[in-house]
Symmetry: C2
Subunit: 333 residues, 2 copies
């Protein structure tokens, strides 16, 4: 099939949502975020996920037009209820409010309960950076990763996002606490590829590079082995304490990844620096990293966010490729 342009994809996704009980505002924002994710090269949380997102809406797990509401606040730390609305709408609103709190008070925190999958966590990092703000953010999930030493999933892989604004391209990391996220496993699976590194266990309990086996066993390896396992426990615990929401084991009592908890902590660096000094600091750090001697002569060293930005620019220029099988499923909605 031909490549799709940004407005084309956004408009089609929006129409599909309007057909499935979304009202204008929610359909518009979700369409923008699913399109952005696809153009950023993260189809696993864009077009490839759209059909199952609408399925959860149609099954009643995601309330298409619910909006997040403020529950309680203490100073510049606020607790919001996602009211089981679409994860992208809730996370967009919560990150926006954290940015606002940071601009007013230097720093701010919004902790969100009863929300749904935010799709690509990086979306909210790039968004904060676009507004000149530093973001520290994470989410919990349904149990999909065993604690270190166990073979049964009891942890979320709790994606973690850090973002810093920079004029020549923001510095943003968006990482699941499993070495490969389930989205990434699914991308390798669709492409018929093996993982480049051992990523988890197969059904016989052996370490494997086969993405389908790991998706099936729910036994991915945590980043840093015992360390990622510990991080997942702490991120879950802190998300629950800050938001008053559900923990991974409670989310796991349901059948799907719903009513999850998220944290958005923002800082406005303009409170202590001017824009030029922020850029200089970021540029100098990036230059120091990029000039490190590569293992393979001539290879480039990348900073977090660099390739996402290049992919996005290229896709905006050339249009984005959507797998035929995915496109047929979206068209049929």
């Amino acid at each position: 099939m031909p490549k799709l342009h940004y407005e084309e994809l956004r408009s089609i996704l929006k129409q599909k949502m309007l057909k499935h009980n979304f009202q204008e505002e929610s359909a518009g924002l979700c369409a923008k975020i699913f399109t952005e994710n696809t153009f950023a090269g993260v189809a696993s949380h864009g077009t490839n996920r759209f059909v199952s997102f609408l399925k959860l809406v149609n099954e009643g797990y995601i309330k298409p037009n619910a909006k997040p509401t403020l529950v309680k606040s203490f100073g510049n730390w606020e607790q919001w209820d996602g009211n089981l609305g679409p994860g992208p709408v809730n996370a967009w609103t919560a990150s926006g409010r954290a940015i606002e709190l940071a601009k007013e008070n230097g720093m701010g925190c919004v902790a969100l309960k009863n929300t749904n999958h935010w799709m690509r966590g990086g979306t909210y990092g790039w968004r904060a950076a676009d507004e000149g703000v530093i973001l520290i953010s994470w989410t919990n999930t349904i149990p999909i990763m065993p604690p270190w030493g166990a073979k049964e999933p009891a942890l979320g892989n709790n994606p973690f996002v850090l973002a810093v604004p920079r004029a020549n391209g923001h510095v943003v990391i968006d990482m699941a606490l499993s070495l490969f996220s389930f989205g990434k496993l699914s991308t390798y699976k669709i492409q018929g590829k093996e993982l480049p590194y051992i990523g988890g266990y197969d059904s016989e309990g052996n370490l494997t590079t086969n993405p389908a086996e790991i998706s099936a066993t729910h036994r991915p390896l945590p980043v840093g082995l015992w360390k990622g396992s510990g991080l997942a426990i702490l991120f879950d615990l802190i998300a629950v304490l800050l938001s008053g929401g559900k923990a991974t084991f409670e989310i796991g009592n349901g059948k799907v990844d719903t009513a999850i908890s998220q944290v958005f902590i923002a800082f406005d660096p303009l409170k202590f620096h001017n824009a030029e000094s922020i850029n200089n600091i970021a540029n100098n750090i990036i230059a120091s990293v990029k000039k490190a001697e590569p293992i393979i002569e001539g290879e480039e060293i990348f900073y977090p966010g660099e390739r996402v930005q290049k992919t996005r620019e290229q896709n905006l220029r050339d249009g984005v490729f959507v797998e035929e099988v995915i496109w047929e499923r979206i068209a049929a909605l």
Copy 2:
């Protein structure tokens, strides 16, 4: 040699510091922290590090009696200057101030520049948890880890600490962004052991489990490979923006790990929960993790901080063992 009791070790370390230009207050606090670290089972940042700590004092890199001072503040985000004082004194003071800000305002952040190695980052996590407060904290370091794809160190391994209070034992993670910290490498080296997992590269560019080789090449593997590398860049960048201090590459211009930057973000969970509800949340999450079926039948699944607490209790009861060679060097100071 016989095992040492807590007061015995603390008093000896304090006397040694008083002999090396420390005044009462700084010697007392540093002795307490070096002793705590040793009793927590982290001798690499306790007794094993004490001689090189005093060497840096005697060489003028660490000002033994300098105290941190407030530079600027905006709301509940403060920038402090460590004035090149002892890292443990500065980090203790900064974490204490972050705790105070959290108790007043719900949340608070102290970002510290011009400080020195804080020894065991977990110290400040346990301390915050002792005061009922959640801590999110990290430090940058001199370049000791290559960015992903490079063979030359250009990143710190920037230890990261998360701590949550719990009546039956706090939940605390303290992790370097290399799979094995340099302290851990040194412990394996002293014990003549190989690492249990591949931890980095040897001098010929091959992956190895030999701790001495990795210490020598400064090529440890980051946690989660490319992910830990990205985290190290972002933690450095955010620490510099929040504190106004030096970045890893600037610290690297000097000969030693000095004038580093640290971040302490604290939340007081009592603003939204009572003490019983905090314990219930933590207990339930920990129970859900500990009951996951182990890979090896009968093995226990641990939560972060569990073994540190047991080690500390055992050492407080029985005394702590200090390697003969280490003790001779301390006695000679």
